[in-house]
Structure formats: structure tokens, C-alpha cells
Subunit: 207 residues, 2 copies
């Protein structure tokens, strides 16, 4: 089927773009590099995409919507805020484990590049951020988290911490083991929540 073939080629180009963007960075990536990597003529790239930038946008949005869904689902299906946050952190870390090149591109070229593409995607990025804030806010109302740290602020720290963690993996070239990933999921949440949760026992006893 011609249509199927065409779709395959389109995908091949997009996948090649991930590899090239991850290897060279968006700016240093030439469209000709992507074409070569995909084993395709230069012009074909422009048959399927309007511009180099559009490829990056598509890669980002495709993946980011999955993240938004995952957080939304975690918020709906889980009870404790800790579990929710762990699910969110877990999804991001799993995304990296599953496709480090794509996550590298997303973080380095979009999420952490807020003056170029991040600008365009700021609304999407904000959504993830707001969802975390909502989880924290709900927990505060329920008395499960202390409320002297604003939910937005807490979300920011949570998000920044995870991003820094991935950035470390991406650039310090630490060869991460499966245990590292698993441990990290728990530790991020444990470290952050330790500061967010009221120290019930101590305060109740003290007060």
C-alpha cells in the first residue's frame, strides 16, 4: 500500500531527526544530515515537513502529550499525593530509559531552551507544571502536605529537580544501571516530600 509506505518514510525521517538532533543538537543539525541518516533524498524531507523546526515541534508534542496524560491519570487513579508524584517522576524517568535520545532532544532543545522553542511550547510545558501544582495543592487542602510552601513553588522545585537529574544522566555520561533508575524514582519523591509533608509525629507530640 502506497500510503503505508509513505507513512513509513515519514516516520523514518522523524526517527532519523531524533538521532541527529540528539547527536549534534538542533542548531548544528543540517537537514542534509537528517536526510542521509534516514537514507532518503534531501528534498523528501520537505515533502513531509514544512521545516526543520516543525520536526522538532512534532517530536516534542507527540511525547509531551503522553506525559500530560500520564500525570492526569495518576492524579485520577491514585490516592496518596506521594504515589501521584512518584508516578509522575516514574513516567519521566521511564521515558528516558525507553528512549534516551528523544528525551535528550526534548529536554535540551525544548524544555531547557525556553528562549527558542521552549517559548513556543511554554503553554504545553506549563500544563505539566500546573498538574503537579494541582496534586500538591490538593494534598495541602487535605492536610497531607504542609501549606506554608506554595503549590506552584513546590511544583517548580519538583520539576526542576527531575530535569536536573535527567540532565546529569544525559551529559555526565554516567552509565546508569536499572537499579539507578528505580532508586532515583523513589529518592526524588522521598527527598522532596520529606520537605513537603508535615512532620506529624514530631509536631503533634511537641504541640
Amino acid at each position: 500500500m502506497a500510503n503505508g509506505r509513505a507513512t513509513e518514510k515519514r516516520r523514518a525521517i522523524l526517527d532519523a531527526a531524533i538521532r541527529v538532533f540528539a547527536r549534534q543538537g538542533f542548531h548544528a543539525a543540517r537537514v542534509s544530515d537528517i536526510a542521509r541518516e534516514a537514507g532518503v533524498a534531501y528534498g523528501l524531507v520537505y515533502h513531509y515537513f514544512d521545516s526543520k523546526e516543525q520536526m522538532l515541534n512534532e517530536l516534542f508534542s507527540e511525547r509531551w502529550s503522553l506525559l500530560l496524560d500520564a500525570i492526569r491519570q495518576a492524579d485520577a487513579e491514585l490516592d496518596s499525593p506521594r504515589d501521584k508524584l512518584e508516578a509522575a517522576a516514574g513516567f519521566i524517568i521511564e521515558s528516558y530509559r525507553h528512549d534516551p535520545e528523544l528525551m535528550k532532544v526534548i529536554i535540551v532543545e525544548v524544555t531547557r531552551a525556553a528562549n527558542t522553542f521552549g517559548r513556543t511550547h511554554l503553554p504545553e510545558i506549563r500544563q505539566a507544571y500546573d498538574q503537579i501544582a494541582k496534586i500538591v495543592g490538593d494534598a495541602q487542602e487535605a492536610g497531607e502536605f504542609r501549606d506554608d510552601v506554595s503549590a506552584d513553588f513546590a511544583a517548580m522545585l519538583f520539576y526542576g529537580a527531575i530535569e536536573q537529574l535527567l540532565t546529569g544522566w544525559i551529559f555526565e555520561v554516567v552509565p546508569e544501571s536499572d537499579e539507578d533508575y528505580e532508586r532515583a524514582k523513589g529518592l526524588v519523591v522521598e527527598t522532596i516530600c520529606g520537605g513537603l509533608e508535615p512532620r506529624a509525629a514530631a509536631e503533634q507530640l511537641a504541640g
Copy 2:
């Protein structure tokens, strides 16, 4: 004095570069923009600097060494790990308050751009990072911080959290007040330390 004049011009170019990099980002910044902003002929830029990149490198290193000194000094002169971390966070936040454009350039173009210039400056960036880890590590040995979270890991979260905070200020265009800055200093540390400090009272009473 001719020499003094020359030095002045050099500084003017560097300052113009800060403004232009902050406004347009390093990649979109043309050397001609910097020259115009500095009120200087195009060629003069190359009289004082070898390349556009060198200007960015110099801006970064100049400021970053101050940060390293500040953390080192805080570690040496203060006692509690909490105070040390608060001094570190405070210095970064004050740097932003004092010269937001320069900090924007440093964070956006270097610190968070680890595939381009961050690569070059990774050793310097790592030093800051390692100093935080040392503070945490010492606190763990002294029993002031829990030791089931590795010092490197904690440093990463601490650092990522602050960077995200500044990034938020930089891009969300939240008009920050002086109180915001002051509050943020305390809250970052309070939030992170809450998770790092052993809940002494509770555990002692429980155990």
C-alpha cells in the same frame, strides 16, 4: 589615558553583549547587533575579542568564579549546613536580582545549554555542584542530614530546584518583588532541607 579608554570600550562591548544575548539569545545575536548596542564599529569587537563565543565564555567565567568563591566562603565561615545552603541559594538569587540580564544569559546559554557551551564549561559547573555535595556530605557525617540520600543526588536536586526557580522568573515574566526574592531564599532551603534533615524528635521518640 589611552589605556583606560581602551579598557572602557572593551567593557562597553562586553556589557552590550550581555544585553543583546539576553534579548535575542546567543544564536540569534549578530555581532553587528552587539557593535551597534555598544555604539562602536563592527571591527572593534574583533579588536578586543577573538570571537562571539569568547565573549560569552568570558561573561560566564567572570561571574561563575564569584559564585564558586561565595559557596566556598559560606562553607568555611558558617556552621549549620542549612545556613551554608541558604547562603549559596541566596548568592544565586542575589546575582539574579542584581543583574538579571547577565544571569539570564548564564543560565539559558551556558548552564542549561549543556550540549553547546555548557560542554565547554562543564568542569566549572561541576565545581559548584561538587561544593554543594560537599556541604551535604559533611552534614551527613555530622549526623545533621539523613544519609540515605547520596550527597551528589541531593546536590543535583538542590541545584536543579534553584535553576528552575530562576528560569521561572526569567521566562514566565512574573514581576517579582523584593519580598519574593527574600521569601524564595528561605523556601528553597526549607523545602529541600525538610527532606534532608532527620526528623529528630519523631524518630527519637519513636525508636
